[in-house]
C-alpha cells in the first residue's frame, strides 16, 4: 500500500525523528509513505474567523495537489498539519461560498475529495492493531506509557472525528499492540499551552506541569505524543517547572513513532534521543527496552 504523505516543515528539521522513524516503521509494516512533491507549509494554524480565507489557500493547494496526483488519502504525522488540513478540508466539503472564494483564488478545482488521515489511523483502520502486534519483534514489556493526545488530534470532534473527544482510546490501543502498558491519566486531552509558548510562556509552563505531574502520578515511565509542539512544550518547560517546584519528578517525552521503532527493533542509537532535554534512555534501559 502506498499513501501520499505530507511531512510538514517541522518534521524536516526539529522533529526529524518523528518523520524518519515513521517512514522506516511504515516500510517494516508493509506500507509506503510517498512524499508529496513540491509541498508547502500548511500554515500551522487554522483560521478561526470567517473572513480570513488566505490562510486556507496553502492547505487547499496541498489537498488539491494530492487529488491531482491520483491520491484519495493524505497521511500526516504532525498533529498540527493534521488539524489544519483536516479542518480546511471540512470547509471545502461543507461551505460552498468559502470554497468558491479560495479555489477561485488559487485557480484549482477542488471540493474536498481528499481524505486526510493521521498515521495512527492508518495503523488502526488499514493495518489493524492486531496485525501490528504480530509484527512487533521486541514487545515493550513492563514499560508504562502516558498517551498524551493534546488538542489538535481530537478537536473539534465534528470536523476531526478521529476518536471520542473526552475519552479517546486509539493511542492506548496502539501502545498495547506494542506490548507496553498504557496508564490512565486525567490530563491526557488537556492543552500543553500550544503557541502560547512564544507569547505567555507561563501558560505553557503551568499547562505542561499539570500534564506531566498527572502522567507521573499515574505511574508512567514516559509520555508519548504525536505533536512536535506538544513535545517541545512538555520537554522544554521541565527545567522551568523544577525552579518553582523542586520536588517535581522529570519525565521523558518522546514521539510515538520512536516507541514504535523500538518495538519494531530499530536501534535506539538511530532514534535521535539526544535531542530530548529529559533523556529517555535511562528509563528505557532500566525497563530493558534498550540495552545498556
Amino acid at each position: 500500500m502506498k499513501y501520499p504523505y505530507f511531512p510538514g516543515c517541522t518534521l524536516y528539521t526539529k522533529a526529524k525523528k518523528l518523520d524518519e522513524a515513521g517512514r522506516e516503521c511504515s516500510r517494516r509494516l508493509g506500507f509506503e509513505l510517498d512524499e508529496l512533491p513540491d509541498w508547502t507549509c500548511c500554515g500551522a494554524t487554522f483560521p478561526l474567523v470567517n473572513d480570513y480565507h488566505i490562510a486556507m489557500s496553502g492547505p487547499t493547494r496541498i489537498l488539491a495537489d494530492t487529488k491531482d496526483q491520483g491520491g484519495d488519502k493524505l497521511v500526516t504525522l504532525c498533529s498540527v498539519c493534521f488539524n489544519v488540513l483536516k479542518r480546511t478540508n471540512y470547509v471545502m466539503r461543507t461551505d460552498e461560498e468559502r470554497r468558491a472564494k479560495i479555489t477561485d483564488f488559487i485557480e484549482r478545482d477542488y471540493h474536498g475529495e481528499t481524505e486526510v488521515m493521521h498515521y495512527l489511523q492508518v495503523l488502526r483502520d488499514d493495518i489493524g492493531f492486531d496485525q501490528l502486534k504480530e509484527k512487533v519483534g521486541k514487545p515493550l514489556e513492563g514499560l508504562k506509557v502516558a498517551c498524551y493526545y493534546g488538542c489538535l488530534l481530537l478537536r473539534p470532534v465534528k470536523e476531526i472525528g478521529l476518536d471520542n473527544m473526552e475519552n479517546p482510546t486509539i493511542f492506548e490501543d496502539f501502545v498495547r499492540a506494542l506490548g507496553a502498558e498504557p496508564v490512565e491519566f486525567p490530563f491526557k486531552i488537556e492543552c500543553c499551552g500550544a503557541f502560547q509558548t512564544v507569547h505567555s510562556m507561563d501558560v505553557a509552563t503551568r499547562c505542561s506541569r499539570n500534564i506531566l505531574n498527572s502522567a507521573r502520578n499515574s505511574g508512567a515511565d514516559l509520555v508519548i505524543t504525536t505533536c512536535p509542539l506538544c513535545q517541545f512544550n512538555l520537554d522544554d518547560r521541565q527545567p522551568e517547572i523544577l525552579k518553582s517546584e523542586p520536588d517535581f519528578a522529570t519525565i521523558p517525552v518522546v514521539y510515538f513513532t520512536q516507541l514504535l521503532a523500538l518495538a519494531l527493533e530499530m536501534s535506539a542509537a538511530d532514534l535521535g534521543f539526544e535531542r530530548n532535554l529529559i533523556d529517555p534512555l535511562p528509563v528505557l534501559q532500566a525497563k530493558g527496552v534498550v540495552g545498556d
Partner: protein, 138 residues
C-alpha cells in the same frame, strides 16, 4: 458598580462585527461556566471566558476590546467541546484578536529579538509560525 445596558449597545457595531466574523451567536450561552471551569489558561486571564461572552451579550464592548484573556487563549477548544450549547469561544477570542490586530495602531504582541538563540534553535517552526499568525498586526 453601576452598569448601563442599552439597545444601542447590544446592537453596537463592535459586538456585531465580533458576531459576524466569529460566526458565533452569543445569545446561545446561558452562562453555565463550563468553559471557564475547563480552560487551561484561565489563571492568566483577566476575564473568564464566560465573562467575555456575558459582556458581549450585554454589548459592553469596552470591557472586552482590550481584555488580556484574548491574548492568552491557546485555542485548545476544550471550552467548545464542553459547551452544552456548542458555543465556540476560541472563535470569539480570535475575532477579538484579529479586530485589534487590524487596527491602524496595532502593535506586535511578540518580538523575535526577545527569544534567546538557544530557544530559537530548539523551538519548532510550528510554534514560531503560529505565534506570528496569532500575534502580529494583520
Amino acid at each position: 458598580m453601576k452598569t448601563v445596558v442599552s439597545r444601542d449597545q447590544v446592537q453596537g457595531d463592535f459586538v456585531k462585527k465580533v458576531a459576524e466574523i466569529s460566526g458565533e451567536n452569543f445569545f446561545n450561552c446561558y452562562q453555565c461556566g463550563n468553559c471557564s471551569a475547563g480552560c487551561p489558561a484561565v489563571d492568566e486571564m483577566d476575564l473568564l471566558p464566560s465573562q467575555v461572552v456575558r459582556y458581549l451579550q450585554l454589548g459592553l464592548a469596552e470591557e472586552v476590546r482590550n481584555c488580556k484573556s484574548m491574548w492568552v487563549c491557546a485555542a485548545c477548544l476544550i471550552c467548545h467541546a464542553r459547551c452544552p450549547k456548542g458555543v465556540d469561544i476560541s472563535k470569539i477570542m480570535e475575532a477579538l484578536r484579529v479586530l485589534r490586530l487590524r487596527e491602524v495602531d496595532a502593535v506586535a504582541q511578540i518580538d523575535v529579538t526577545d527569544f534567546s538563540a538557544d530557544y530559537l534553535e530548539r523551538a519548532p517552526q510550528i510554534a514560531m509560525i503560529s505565534g506570528y499568525r496569532k500575534f502580529l498586526p494583520l
